[in-house]
C-alpha cells in the first residue's frame, strides 16, 4: 500500500515529505539529545547542588546545632527553602527532633507523559554534622524536579515551535524552488505528449537548472534524431490501422493461416461468410474450420518450391440453413519482411448473386439471339421491299425528268426565239417571264434528275480540262445583275496559289457555286 501511495506522490511532494521527515528526525534527535544531555546535566547539577548546598548548610548550622538553637536553625533554613527547586530542608538532631521547612512546590507546566519520559525524581541528600567526632545531628535537602522539568519542557516547546516554523519555512522554500525548477519539466511533459501526438517539429526551450536544462537538451536532440523515423512510422501505423480496418470491415472474407494451417486472423467478412466467429476460428486449423481452399499449397511452400503462386478458385458451399451459396477464392502466400513464407492469406467472396445474374444473362442472351434472328429476317425482307420501291421511284423520276425536260427545252428555245422578235414591252415581259420560269423549272427537273441519279447510284462526273477562273467568273457574272438589283456587290477573288488549269467536271462545280450564290443572294438583305 505504501509503495502504491509513494508511486502516486509527485516529485515535489516526495522531496517535501522526505525533507520534512529528515528535518523532523534531525531536530527530534537533536532535541532528544539536548534534553537527555540537559537531564544528565541537571541530575549532575542536582547532585552537585545538594552536595554544595549541604557543604554550605552544614557549617552554617553547625554552631547552632551544637548550641541546640532551633529557632536560629529555622531562621537559617527558611531562606534556603525559599529557593524554587527546594521542596524541603530539614535539620534533625541526634534525638530525632526535626526542624523542617517545606516550600510550596510550583505547579508543573509539563504534561504527565513528559514527566514520565524524563524520569527526573526528587533528589534527597543528607549530611551529618560531626565536629570533633561528635554527631550533632544531620541536615537533609530535598530538591524537587518540577521547576527543572518546567524549564526543560519550555525548551522542548520552544524547540518544537522552532521546528514548526522551520518546517513551514522549509516547505515553502522547497515548494517554491521545486515549482520553479520543475516548471521546465512540466513543459517538457506537455511537449513530449504533443511530440507523441505527432508534432514532430516541436522543440522545447532550454531553461531551468543545469540538470533539467541538460535533460531538455537531450530531449531536443532525441526529437531531432527520431522525428523523421517517427513521422514515417506514424504514417505507416496509420496506413496499417487503415489497412487493418479495411480488412476487418471488408465484406470479403479475409483470413490467414500459418505454415501449420492454424488460422491466425479471421475478419468480420469471414464471420459472415462462413458463420464462424473470430474467437472460434482463430487458433483452429483450416481443416477444422472447413476451409478447403486455404493451406492446400503449404506443403509445397515447406519444401521450398519457388513455383508457388497466387491462385484463384470457386467453390459451392452450404450454409448452416442448408442453403447453397458460391464462393470465389483468391489465395496467396503470406511472406515476411525477408520474403520467406510464413503462411497463407485467402480472400473469399460470396458470388452467389453474381452466379444468379450470370444465369439470368445466359438465358436472356439465348432469347435475344432468337429475337435478333427473327428481326434480322424481317429487316431483310423490308429492305428488299424498300429497295424495290426506291428503284421504282428512281426510274420514275428519271423517266419523268427526261420526258419533261425535252419539251421544256423546246419551250425555252421558242421563247428565246420569241425574244429576238419585235415585241412590245408587255409581250416581252410575258415572254421573259415564261423563259425565266421555264429555266427555273428546268433547273428543278435537273436537280430531281441528279437526285435520282445519286440515289440510284448512277450519277457520273465528266473529266475534262477547264480553267477554273473562267468557270467561276461565269457563275459570278450570272448573279451580278441580281446582286446589283438588291443593292449588293458580288466579286470574285481567287488566290494566286490556286491552280487555274484543272481537270474535272466544271459543270458540277458551277452548279455547286450557283446554288451557293443563289442562297447567298436570297438570304442577304
Amino acid at each position: 500500500v505504501l509503495s502504491g501511495l509513494w508511486r502516486r506522490i509527485s516529485l515535489s511532494s516526495r522531496i517535501t515529505l522526505s525533507g520534512s521527515l529528515v528535518l523532523i528526525l534531525v531536530i527530534a534527535t537533536l532535541l532528544y539529545s539536548v534534553i537527555q544531555e540537559e537531564v544528565e546535566r541537571l541530575r549532575a547539577e542536582f547532585t552537585r547542588k545538594i552536595t554544595s548546598d549541604l557543604a554550605i548548610l552544614v557549617p552554617t548550622l553547625t554552631e547552632q546545632a551544637m548550641l541546640g538553637d532551633y529557632s536560629t536553625i529555622r531562621q537559617l533554613l527558611t531562606p534556603y527553602a525559599e529557593r524554587s527547586e527546594v521542596e524541603r530542608v530539614v535539620w534533625r538532631d541526634p534525638q530525632g527532633y526535626e526542624v523542617a521547612i517545606d516550600s510550596k512546590i510550583p505547579q508543573s507546566t509539563a504534561p504527565a507523559w513528559f514527566r514520565r519520559l524524563m524520569q527526573l525524581q526528587a533528589y534527597e541528600g543528607w549530611q551529618e554534622i560531626h565536629v570533633g567526632g561528635v554527631n550533632y545531628g544531620k541536615v537533609g535537602v530535598l530538591l524537587h524536579p518540577t521547576p527543572t522539568l518546567n524549564k526543560i519542557w519550555q525548551i522542548v516547546v520552544e524547540g518544537l515551535r522552532s521546528l514548526g516554523i522551520g518546517l513551514v519555512v522549509m516547505l515553502v522554500v522547497i515548494l517554491l524552488v521545486l515549482r520553479q525548477a520543475l516548471r521546465p519539466l512540466r513543459r517538457l511533459a506537455a511537449d513530449v505528449q504533443r511530440f507523441g501526438e505527432g508534432d514532430y517539429a516541436l522543440r522545447t526551450p532550454l531553461e531551468g537548472p543545469p540538470e533539467i536544462s541538460s535533460s531538455l537538451q537531450a530531449f531536443n536532440r532525441m526529437a531531432s534524431r527520431i522525428a523523421s523515423p517517427l513521422a514515417a512510422l506514424h504514417e505507416n501505423e496509420a496506413k496499417v490501422r487503415l489497412l487493418a480496418a479495411a480488412v476487418e470491415q471488408s465484406n470479403d472474407a479475409i483470413l490467414t493461416c500459418d505454415l501449420d494451417g492454424v488460422i491466425i486472423t479471421w475478419n468480420k467478412g469471414a464471420e459472415r461468410l462462413f458463420g464462424l466467429r473470430a474467437e472460434e476460428a482463430v487458433g483452429t486449423t483450416v481443416g477444422a474450420a472447413h476451409i478447403q481452399h486455404l493451406g492446400v499449397t503449404i506443403d509445397e511452400q515447406r519444401v521450398g518450391q519457388p513455383s508457388y503462386h497466387a491462385s484463384e478458385a470457386e467453390e459451392q458451399r452450404t450454409n448452416n440453413a442448408g442453403e447453397t451459396f458460391y464462393v470465389s477464392w483468391s489465395t496467396a502466400p503470406l511472406l515476411d519482411a525477408q520474403g520467406e513464407a510464413i503462411g497463407e492469406i485467402g480472400i473469399a467472396r460470396d458470388i452467389t448473386p453474381l452466379k444468379r445474374v450470370q444465369e439470368l444473362l445466359s438465358r436472356s442472351n439465348e432469347e435475344l439471339e432468337i429475337r435478333v434472328q427473327e428481326r434480322t429476317s424481317e429487316l431483310a425482307r423490308a429492305k428488299e421491299v424498300a429497295e424495290a420501291a426506291s428503284r421504282a421511284k428512281s426510274e420514275f423520276l428519271a423517266n419523268m425528268s427526261h420526258e419533261i425536260r425535252t419539251p421544256m427545252n423546246g419551250v425555252l428555245g421558242m421563247t428565246d426565239l420569241l425574244l429576238h422578235t419585235e415585241l412590245d414591252p408587255r409581250q416581252r415581259h410575258f415572254v421573259q417571264t415564261v423563259q425565266s420560269s421555264g429555266t427555273a423549272l428546268l433547273k428543278v427537273l435537273n436537280a430531281i434528275l441528279d437526285f435520282a441519279k445519286i440515289e440510284a447510284g448512277k450519277l457520273e462526273l465528266e473529266t475534262v480540262d477547264f480553267r477554273l477562273a473562267e468557270a467561276v467568273e461565269d457563275v459570278v457574272q450570272l448573279f451580278a445583275e441580281r446582286a446589283h438589283a438588291k443593292g449588293l456587290e458580288i466579286a470574285c477573288n481567287i488566290e494566286p496559289a490556286v491552280p487555274d488549269a484543272l481537270r474535272g467536271d466544271s459543270g458540277r462545280l458551277q452548279q455547286i457555286l450557283s446554288n451557293l450564290l443563289g442562297n447567298a443572294l436570297k438570304f442577304t438583305a
Binding site: M66, L67, V131, V134
Partner: protein
C-alpha cells in the same frame, strides 16, 4: 563472649549513664572549640567512664554567667578567678603541660620610647579583650601605672604584632612567647618595656558537686593522655587545629599554681568580659 568481657573490662567501673557538661571559655569559635575538645573528651570518656559533653556558649557573657551559676560540671576556663564569678567555687583539676606564659609591652627596636610613661597618650595595641597576658595583664599594668593610652585591638596576637611592625601602633601588649616566635620569623627587632610574671595557661576546673572519684577518674585520664600513643595523637591533632606548640597534654595542678592569677583578677583594674 571473650570480646564482650574484654570490652566490659576496658570500661572503668565509674561509667555512668549521666552526661557531665564541659564548658569551654569562648576564646575561639564554637566549632573550633568542639573540634579541639571533642576528641579529648571522647578519650576521657573512653578511659574514665565519665561521659563529658562539650557545652558550647554563644558568647563570653553566657559562659561567664554559667560559670557564676556553676552550670558546668567541668570547664576549661579561668573565669572562676574573677571575683564576681568565684562563688561557684570551681576547683582546678589539671592544667596544660605548656610552660607558663608572660605578658610583654613591647616597642620596635628603633622606637624612641624607652619607658612605659612615654606611652601616655599614645596608641597601644592589644590582641583582643579575652587575651589574658596579651591584654588583661599588660593593659592592667598600664592602668595601675596611671598611663592612659588609646587602645587598639588587632584581632589576635600576630595581628597586633603586624600593626606594630607597620608602625600603626606605638607599642603592643603581647604574649611573650608568641612575640618571640613572630620576631624570629619576621626578622623583627623589638624591645620589651615591661614583662609580667609567669602565669599558667587556662586550667580545667570542676564543680564541687562532682564526686571526687569522678574527678579523679577524669584527671587520671587527662594526665595519661600524653603518655598514651592514642592520647598523644589526639592531643597533637587537636593542637594542630589551633597551632599549639608542644608540650602537649595536661599536668596535675591545683589552686597554688593559679594563686597569682587569682590575685591578679582580685586586684585588676581592667575589666574582663
Amino acid at each position: 563472649m571473650g570480646m564482650i568481657c574484654w570490652l566490659l573490662s576496658s570500661v572503668p567501673l565509674l561509667a555512668q549513664d549521666t552526661t557531665l557538661s564541659f564548658g569551654v571559655m569562648p576564646q575561639r569559635t564554637i566549632t573550633l572549640n568542639a573540634q579541639y575538645w571533642n576528641p579529648i573528651l571522647h578519650y576521657v570518656n573512653t578511659h574514665s567512664g565519665i561521659h563529658l559533653a562539650y557545652r558550647p556558649n554563644k558568647n563570653t557573657a553566657e559562659h561567664a554567667a554559667m560559670i557564676r551559676e556553676g552550670a558546668f560540671d567541668f570547664a576549661y576556663s579561668n573565669y572562676f578567678f574573677i571575683p564576681e564569678y568565684v562563688g561557684a567555687d570551681y576547683q582546678v583539676v589539671v592544667r596544660p603541660a605548656e610552660a607558663a606564659i608572660r605578658g610583654d609591652i613591647v616597642v620596635l627596636e628603633t622606637s624612641p620610647i624607652q619607658s612605659l610613661k612615654e606611652l601616655d597618650g599614645k596608641v597601644v595595641g592589644f590582641p583582643h579583650k579575652a587575651a589574658f597576658v596579651g591584654y588583661l595583664v599588660t593593659y592592667d599594668k598600664l592602668l595601675h601605672e596611671g598611663i592612659n593610652v588609646e587602645v587598639v585591638f588587632g584581632g589576635n596576637q600576630e595581628g597586633i604584632m603586624g600593626q606594630l611592625k607597620a608602625g600603626r601602633v606605638v607599642a603592643a601588649g603581647v604574649n611573650s612567647q608568641v612575640m618571640r616566635d613572630f620576631a624570629e620569623r619576621e626578622k623583627l627587632s623589638y624591645r620589651v618595656l615591661w614583662r609580667s610574671q609567669d602565669y599558667y595557661n587556662i586550667p580545667i576546673i570542676v564543680h564541687p558537686r562532682i564526686t571526687q572519684d569522678k574527678v579523679e577518674a577524669v584527671r587520671a585520664a587527662l594526665l595519661q593522655m600524653s603518655q598514651d600513643p592514642e592520647g598523644l595523637r589526639i592531643l597533637k591533632e587537636s593542637a594542630a587545629l589551633i597551632k599549639l606548640d608542644p608540650p602537649y597534654g595536661f599536668v596535675a595542678s591545683g589552686a597554688a599554681d593559679y594563686e597569682n592569677t587569682r590575685l591578679f583578677f582580685q586586684n585588676a583594674l581592667v575589666h574582663s568580659e
